[in-house]
Symmetry: D3
Subunit: 319 residues, 6 copies
């Protein structure tokens, strides 16, 4: 099983600091970090009245969303906490509210950690002996699948694209190497050439929109489109917690652009006059191209993905 | 106009040396280098009989084809020289044969240098003010087009993929920069994302096969395939001299794989056990996806490309 | 916000008259008109027993469905009223039944008027500054989206097809003009030519079938099909009330053909011997081609559309 | 057989006048008109020296190309005349030159008139009893095919799109009506709906580019693209004389935009502020989508089309 | 209406025997047979304690799943019985448990028999006078549709592929013949040739996976794929009971391969050295290619199919 | 090398008899048989004047074309003979004419036999070690390719569809077996399932039309269409002699339908009332789907195929 662990956060401020310093990485860790922030406030701090407590929560929320405005999981943690706050009778004791929020956040964190395990098992069921799987970039959900399949003794191999600019797939290749899964490592431009060799494609997700389309590392939509012309299925591995509920109301998934320094190196150009380096980091894969989203509820059709959010809410609420 | 110049070769052996040291780059320079080798033998060396002369030519041919077995232009230069040899009456004086071969080779070299200019003009006619063109990798034919269009005062911009592993497009971007052509520089995985912004695609060729399909830098076929799904035309810029005539007989274009060192850097992996780095350097774009091959005879349908070889032969033969 | 207002109906007979005279236009107005008919009967007329009341309702129903047999919204209003009638105990006082039906119909009318506003807001969230949107024909739902986006200060432009034979898009162009939204007005045959310029497509719906495919003005399916080949998303704006529940049981959406007089003008032909003018007015766009249906519940995957009917029923029933 | 007749031109100036007054219509009539202009100068006017004669030809050429700069057939007539002029020895008598030009132009005119007959026969061979053919706009080449098939007693029917804005297909429908060919007349937006009913598609050409792609009435490329998704073949009927030889050198086919008055009617809009009516009149259908170009040399693959220009030149030169 | 009848099973052992002897055919009969086995145990056998009863059920389950490990309907019957067992309080009387299991199984059997009727009615609603429908292989669900449509007086015709190797469509053709439905009988390789003649395609299902993709007789996916390129809709007729719930957890639908004897005949080959006859009997049609699954709940989008399993459970449980 | 031998024809009448008795099989044998008929008349029979000789030739021609009206190769042999007759001066001696026709026919026969060898070599160059090739039906041209590749020691395997109704691929499988080429034998309906396993597809031709589309055994076009959606190239192996020159003039390739007895067996149906068995034996694969036609001139683009007919004519004429 995948050993997913979070930073040992000391306080809500520590959470915000680590987010600011970019030590939190990946959609799920962000969601848990947000839950940790609310939890640590609830566990560690004292409030004389409800109004002050809520102001405190508000400050944390706006701070975290200021740093990562597009991160669905931070938004989701906030939403669950505020739904709870809204449901608690006005006259409840402030410490009781803190207790309930702390409990909810513990539940969110716990749920999130288990979700990767569950989807890893479902995804590993897809993998059969002899399969060759193309992947792209790095995804802890994907790693959970491969590790469970390898640990179960299945013999398969993986084609890793290097995934420029950051070449995150090096990490994926090393993990697969440590589990004795043979890896073929290719450049991103080689995916069409190598696609006939793959049996299917598995990729991760940064964010899922409510109609089941998936934002993920640049190149994911390209691979998915090409897969349609080569009779290959595309699976996306992701926890339901990565759904961006704002997309239900028509809000677009914001696809981050990052700094040009990640794309070029010293000495590449004497000057950038007239040269616009664009490091568009994410793209959007349309739902109809996705065979299934491998999540903690099984392998589900992308268009059905929002119907699982309600189940998630029930589980973290302990119902 | 594009200033294409060759290495100043001192002798046939020098040609071979420079090929071996990888100082000759690009299909057309290889073809001219081969012509130079035959020319220098013919101009500089003395032979007492025809048999010795032919043995000398044979040695040069096999040496060059040993170093670059798949290079169509080397094969073509050889073919033209040997066609001439076959047509010269047996009893011709050895120095007369040398003179004729030298003349032919001078004609080949001259033809090749002019071809890039001609196709540059035809290609620049395609470009209209306001156009945005996606390109991939580096190609001197492509540069000839862009330089002629820019020099003619046309206002257009170019989207350059970085073209891993060697990122040759940096050179293209610098040349375009020097001609004040705005460049957008993106990763290879971004081509599907940026394709709607392009008006059409222009790419070069390493080798053209007789049915009009084109071997070029890895990623060319990927871009071409995606262009079909985005209503964008694909042009290939290439001299006719890059046709591999052996493909007429069913021989496949050999698509070079290069060393893995070009793909990975020191420190990427502790060990490569179980990790197979494949640096497939060329791919093959199918003829029906290509709107036109921009060559020295104009913009021609890919399927018609072999019909221009005969015209080329006539021109270099001085008929 | 869109000022949607209905005819001020005086009586159930007046409703039927206005339907007959074709003064009621668009799926939603038909649904509300039907609700008005039941409401006016309930409010204005006196019945001594339940049987007579039901006979009266029956007569209205059959009259309206005779005039517009394929109109899903008339069918839906009838269905909701009769579901209520079925649920009321046999021995309820006739005036109490009238009161409940009147209340339900008021609720239906109110719901319908608000739905266009809600979907307008969700749709306007999709629109970003600088977007170019292709639309086809006229749709009040679509107008609600554009007006809300323009009113929110968003800068976007719209490509309107003329939408033969009736060229309804003239009305759309005028409304957009009044909100200072730049319009490009083209013939229907030009959509493939102009599609690369559009960022996405938004169209309305006459009827939605239970699997999410959409009947709309002739040309909608053509545009949608072409959009698939040009990397453009297709959104459909429509209230859920336009679902034709009969399609769940396999009944096809009946695609109206209208009179040939709308297609030809005086003097076009001396005689129509041997010339069959077909004015097929609606076509059917397949669900998998639709990115999302913009409805009062948000932007939902077409295949999920029936799951929102239950929610609508609950809301209009006041639960 | 199709009765094609030209205007009875009185003089070169008359030709230019009729071109200016838009009384010459269709690519082939323009080419013949240009030939008439050169012929009438040669037959009617007297020149004391060759220089004056050539100046006169030059003035006619520039006048006609100024009025219709994009018309390939005018350009082709000029090209053939000037090729002849270039081939005549410098010291030839001026009246002999006039005689030769007159003869060439008579040959061009004659060739053009016969070409429509020949292609009509070849096209009619394609039509089998029971076929349903979809056409678009009006084309005299197409009419020649249908008339020959009908005259040969074949029983077939034709689906005519109205072809906005000018609805030229009304003329096609009337001609078919007069030959008792049943016509189904539909709006342009209906082509996707009716395509399954058609067995194949036949359309005309305004201009053919050297790679076999075809400029024709707006909507032709749309229909062709949709035909690819419905297993229907697309034939283009056109004389070889419509090839635009300038496209060989990369020059784009200029796709005419015409006046907005053709698209809108009085009263459509109070003002056009903010409304841009674009009457793009032609579009470009890609060669690979065309099953065959029905020309005077038979039904030929579009990519081969330029190879027939040489044959045309030989025939009009009387060789 | 379709007369579906099961074997008159005498005992649980008899059920297993008939399964072993391959006298039970088709997904639904297998599911009912499994229900009969549990029912006959419950009705006919006596148990002194609950543990023994459960051991008995266990033995039957493992026996049936050993014989048909991939059969979803056997698995489903087991799952429903064991869900019931789990819900019964520990201390319930053994005979009461038997009674409840017997009742549940009767309900399952009854439900299954009615489901084919219901879907037959919904499917027949799709069929309009004049329609031509392409089908493949044999399916009792499909027959139910055709029989109900024919019995309702609809005039339509059916294209039957022979469906090698067993040519089950002969049975379909005979049944259609007996209902006076005209049949065109073609080889499997002819489906692309005849597809333009069909209005749509209807096929059956062996198993439905949770994402709506459908396992059915080899050739189904081929036909479905081709239908996408010919503008034809694909319907699948199947009871919900054929859903394989294990696919929710990523388990692949196991696609049976059968004996080579079904493919070759005596005398076809002298020896099979070096010849591998593969009789892959089922293939998998992707959900996005399917217009609708015609089931007992109506014509539903394939991606929604699992949401109907819950309704089925409620109905057979009598809630 | 493939041992192609013809029947030892005794006389022109014997040729006609063997054609009538269906002992001549395959396009090339038909063409040679026709040449044999003209040759045997010329060699064996005596004529006192040219008119009688020509009448005799006419009778043979019409007899053979009556029996096989659609067979392009019979038509081609006739055309070549008559072209020769037309070119011989009127006053030539009758025996001299006979000599020349006999010589031409010997040349045709010889050319045809060598063509299969040549294309076999070119095709075998395509095959690389480790390749898996999908084929369909039987074709002697295809066998020539496989035999030459196997004889050259290449290791490859072949997927054979059974090719209903006659299952000609059994013969192919046996020949491959005798050359130790591993064969996978599948039903026709399995081609989409097995396509990902194939590296490319090779099929034969019955007739080639002038635009390069290919008539071949039913299923060829189906496989070719599916190959486009699975990134597989389609090669067609055929001598140029199979071009049907009548298609240049728009004449369609006539696609034979054969007797229903080949499709059904005794006992399949009690009666065929209402069941129409259609044994459409050939279909037409569009040229743009074909990567190359493997012929005696190499691997050529389908659209160029007619340009090789002229070369063929020159060779058989001995020029």
């Amino acid at each position: 099983m995948m050993q997913v662990t979070d930073i040992e956060f000391k306080s809500a401020e520590h959470v915000i600091e680590e987010i600011e310093n970019m030590n939190v990485k990946g959609g799920s860790p962000f969601g848990r970090a947000a839950a940790w922030a609310y939890k640590l406030v609830s566990d560690q701090e004292k409030f004389t009245n409800v109004k002050d407590l809520k102001l405190r929560y508000d400050r944390i929320s706006s701070e975290m969303l200021r740093l990562k405005p597009t991160m669905a999981t931070i938004y989701n943690s906030k939403k669950l906490v505020y739904n709870l706050l809204d449901s608690i009778p006005e006259d409840t004791d402030v410490s009781e509210i803190q207790r309930q929020v702390s409990e909810l956040c513990a539940s969110i964190i716990n749920y999130s950690l288990k979700a990767v395990d569950s989807l890893g098992e479902y995804g590993s069921n897809i993998i059969q002996n002899g399969d060759t799987i193309m992947m792209h970039s790095y995804s802890s959900a994907l790693m959970s699948i491969f590790i469970q399949a390898a640990s179960a003794g299945k013999k398969f191999s993986v084609i890793c694209t290097e995934s420029r600019p950051l070449r995150e797939s090096r990490l994926a290749a090393k993990i697969l190497q440590s589990y004795n899964v043979p890896v073929t490592y290719i450049t991103d431009a080689s995916v069409w050439e190598f696609m006939p060799v793959a049996d299917y494609i598995m990729m991760g997700a940064d964010t899922i929109s409510c109609n089941g389309s998936v934002a993920n590392k640049m190149g994911t939509a390209l691979i998915s489109k090409l897969a349609q012309s080569c009779k290959k299925k595309v699976y996306i591995a992701s926890e339901i917690y990565k759904i961006d509920l704002r997309t239900q109301e028509g809000q677009p998934v914001v696809l981050e652009r990052r700094t040009k320094d990640e794309v070029i190196q010293d000495g590449d150009f004497d000057s950038l006059d007239g040269i616009d380096i664009i490091n568009q980091f994410f793209d959007l894969t349309p739902a109809p191209e996705i065979e299934g989203i491998i999540c903690e509820f099984g392998v589900v059709p992308p268009s059905m993905v929002t119907s699982y959010w309600g189940k998630l809410e029930e589980i973290v609420a302990g119902n």
